[in-house]
Structures are given as C-alpha cells and as structure tokens.
C-alpha cells in the first residue's frame, strides 16, 4: 500500500455553537510520529478523537490506509458508516486515554484479552497468550492477575497501552497519556511509549510533555484556537518558534 497512512482533510468540529476545530489538515506516513501540542482548550484532544471517530467530525474527512474512515461514499455523497463497519475500522486504531479507563471488573490480562477475543473471535487461550506477550512489552508481566484498583496510575496506563497494542493497530493515538499521573510515575509511561516509537510504530500523540514530544516525534503541530498555527520538525518548531503565540506557549511551559 502506497500513500500516507493517515490523512485528515479540512477537519471541522463544533459542539453546539462552539467551533472547536476550524479546518485542520494533517498527513502521517507509515512509521512516523506526530505530536500535537497547544494550550488547553485549543482542540488538540478533539482533533485526536475525531481521527477514530470517537467524535464525529462536523465537516471534513479521514482516510486511514487509503480507506475512508467512518463514512461511506457513493456518487460523491458521504454517509455515516454503520456501527459494525465503524467498529471494524476502529479495531485498526489503538487509543490510549488520559484517564486510562481500564475496565475495573477485569484483571490486567483480561483487560487486554477481551477485545481481541470478542472483536476478532480468537479463543480464550490465544487471547491469554496475546495478553501475556503485550504485558511483557510494557513490563507488567508480574501484575497479569491484578485488578486495576490494585495498580498505580502508571501501571494502569501501561496496561492500557498493552490493551491498545493487542489490537495490532496500524496507528496508535495517545491522548495526554501522562496528564493524570503523579510526577514520579510519568517516566515509566513515557519510557514505554518511547520504546514503541523506536519499534517504528505510527503514532499521533497529544501531550503537554514538550521535551518528550521533541525527542519522540518527527513532526510537531501547534494548534491554537482550532487552527494549526505552526508545524514542522520538532527542532524547528520547538527550538526556533516563529509565531508569537507559540513562543508565548513555550515560555509558559518552561516556566512551569
């Protein structure tokens, strides 16, 4: 398959009268990593959530691996895709949330295994094997049988990452994965994400960790008020910002 992995075209999203995204474009090639940064309320999480249709865009289209996402097209008219089709497409996109959202009634292993079991129809034994392999990747093998309430925030987030990896996704989305963590737990989660990045996975990352974004991403988007104000390689965007708003934003972050 040639062409970019992900294409976001003219993305608009409104909640009632409030227009959060005002026409955003992005392209992501296979194996590449884009970080989206910006002040809170700028629309960066919304943009990420539109990519896998967790939010339905008001306007604009998403293509994943050359395939129109969340919609069907016939005779030039776009129609929302049915739930089954949407679920099938979402299975190719792993998502990691700020609030982890592990399922409290399932142990770590089952949190990871239940998705592939129900979605792809693999057996319980296969699901357990897959889950154990994913737990190893996030260095959580020793907690396979623990329930989420017995895990620290950092551990929960690593299990949540393993859950997304078990989908064998073409694309990983990270929505502020460390924002809800105590400072001393951030490192372990960032390390795991970095390891995934080094494996050559394609990912889009919304984050407040500017230094981390600079290290991991090969492209940075600065979003402000629902539009992309500046973008480019991290060295250019973060070390040599052109736009006054971006400079103000970076100054604020550094001061913290």
């Amino acid at each position: 398959m040639t062409g970019p992995l992900l294409q976001v075209e003219e993305l608009h999203k409104s909640f009632g009268d409030l227009e959060v995204l005002k026409g955003v474009d992005m392209t992501l090639d296979r194996g590449h990593k884009t970080a989206i940064i910006g002040p809170s309320g700028c629309g960066k999480s919304t943009m990420l959530r539109c990519i896998n249709y967790m939010e339905r865009p008001t306007q604009g289209h998403i293509h994943l691996d050359g395939e129109l996402f969340g919609e069907t097209q016939s005779d030039g008219a776009y129609k929302p895709m049915n739930e089954k089709g949407l679920a099938r497409q979402r299975a190719h996109v792993g998502m990691v949330f700020q609030g982890f959202y592990l399922w409290p009634h399932l142990c770590a292993r089952d949190n990871i295994g239940i998705g592939p079991m129900k979605v792809r129809g693999i057996s319980k034994a296969q699901a357990n094997e897959l889950a154990d392999a994913m737990l190893e990747k996030v260095h959580m093998s020793h907690k396979a049988n623990e329930f989420p309430e017995r895990l620290s925030g950092g551990q929960q987030q690593r299990v949540a990452i393993a859950r997304a990896l078990a989908q064998q996704p073409k694309l990983m989305l990270f929505d502020e994965p460390t924002s809800a963590l105590d400072p001393e737990l951030i490192g372990e989660v960032l390390n795991v994400i970095q390891e995934l990045a080094e494996e050559g996975r394609s990912m889009v990352l919304v984050t407040h960790e500017i230094r981390f974004a600079r290290e991991v991403a090969d492209h940075v988007i600065f979003l402000h008020d629902g539009v992309i104000v500046e973008e480019g390689p991290p060295k250019q965007v973060i070390d040599n910002p052109q736009h006054e708003r971006l400079r103000a934003f970076l100054r604020q972050i550094v001061e913290h």
């Binding site: 299975a91 592990l102 989420p148």
Partner: protein, 232 residues
C-alpha cells in the same frame, strides 16, 4: 396476662391441622407469583432502560412514556384492567397470570429506572475504551457496561424483590389464591381474623427479612471492597 397469651397461641395449635396445609400451599403461590412477576419486570425493565437511553427518538419517547405511566398508575388498576377490563375484548387471563403480568408490568417501570441509574453511573470513558478496541455498541454493553452496572444495581434490585413480594398481596383482590386471600378466607370461616392476619403478616415478614439482610450484607461488601479507580 401470660395465661391470655397462652390461650391466644393455643388457638393456632388447635387449628393448625386445618390451616397448616392451606397456608403452606398459599405461601408457595405467593413465592411463585413473586418470581414470575419479578422475572417479567427485570426483562421488561432492562429493555425499557436501554430504550430510554437510546438515541432513536421514537424508542426513547415510547420507553419514557411507559416508565412514567407505569410509575403513575396504581398496580391495582393494572390488575383490574387485565383481569376484568379485557374480558369484553375476549381476552381472559386466569387470576395467577393476570397477577403476574400486572405486577410485572407495573414494577418494570421502577426496575427500568434502577437499571438506567446503574448504567449511567458507569463513566463514559469505560464505553469509549471499549469502542476504541473495536467493540460494537452491543458488545460494549454486554461485556463492559452491564457487568459493572449489575454491581451497582444489585442492592436496589433486591429491594424491589421485597416490595414485589409484599405487593403480591393485592392480587387477592382479583382472587389469585395467594397468602393474603387464603388468610382472609380462613379468617372469615373461623371468625378468627386477628389470629390469621397476624399470621399472614408474620409470614410476609419472615420471607422478606432475610432478603433485606442479604441486601445490607451486599451493600457493606461493596463499600469495603471497591475503592474507586481513576475514571473507573
């Protein structure tokens, strides 16, 4: 005083060979009526709750209307309607069936609200995480939402069983041959209303009290057992 009490209790001993078998039989009918109406109410209530949370306007409207009406109309009116009111249309239920359906339909309104509250208490992130791994909304409900909601729902649900158990007594008014009707008949035949209605009350209490003990036990267990996880 003690002599009076002895005299009062001896009446039970004297009549038990006559009352006993009839009372046992009636208790069994009351239990069956509770189980039947509760089963119907749970199935119907779950459908109504899901319908009320649906994003299809017509379904939501219908379910909301049903819940409001079921909660606003006395169960007895429903029972009379089912048992007497439908006869002109050629629809005839026996007293047990009419009782079970009527109580079930009526309780479904309350049980739907119990389900809805339980489902809505689950953080929306739980649902999103399930959708994100590629589950359909149906799978999400079945494997992620419902198992969590049931933990929340269980105590109020057991309360509903207790209420229904006691409410089966109104089926005596459509001549369902359950505990209350049998107690009333025996009271009239023996001219011992105080003995029989005290007995009936005591039996209802003995049936429902264990249920409320279990409910309390479960509530305590859940309070202790589960610290809320972040976003969970």
């Amino acid at each position: 005083m003690i002599e009076d009490l002895k005299g009062f209790l001896s009446v039970y001993a004297e009549n038990w060979h006559d009352w006993g078998p009839q009372i046992y039989e009636a208790i069994w009918v009351t239990i069956q009526l509770t189980i039947a109406s509760f089963s119907l109410a749970v199935v119907l209530g779950l459908l109504l709750a899901v319908g009320k949370l649906s994003n299809i306007g017509l379904v939501r409207g219908f379910c909301t209307a049903y819940i409001e009406i079921a909660r606003g109309v006395p169960a007895l009116a429903v029972l009379f309607l089912l048992y007497f009111g439908l006869v002109p249309l050629g629809i005839v239920f026996d007293a047990f069936t009419a009782g079970a359906i009527g109580l079930g339909m009526s309780a479904a309104g309350y049980i739907a609200e119990v389900f809805r509250a339980g489902i809505q208490a689950i953080h929306k992130g739980q649902r999103e995480a399930a959708l994100a791994v590629g589950m359909t909304p149906m799978m999400t409900f079945r494997h992620i939402i419902l198992p969590q909601a049931i933990r929340i729902i269980l105590p109020p649900m057991l309360n509903m069983v207790i209420l229904l158990l006691k409410d089966t007594s109104i089926c005596s008014l459509i001549s369902t041959d359950e505990l209350m009707l049998r107690a009333k008949d025996l009271a009239m035949m023996s001219f011992l209303p105080m003995h029989l209605f005290l007995l009936a009350g005591a039996i209802y209490f003995c049936l429902s009290w264990p249920l409320s003990l279990i409910t309390r036990k479960i509530e305590n267990l859940m309070q202790r057992g589960r610290r809320q996880t972040f976003g969970g």
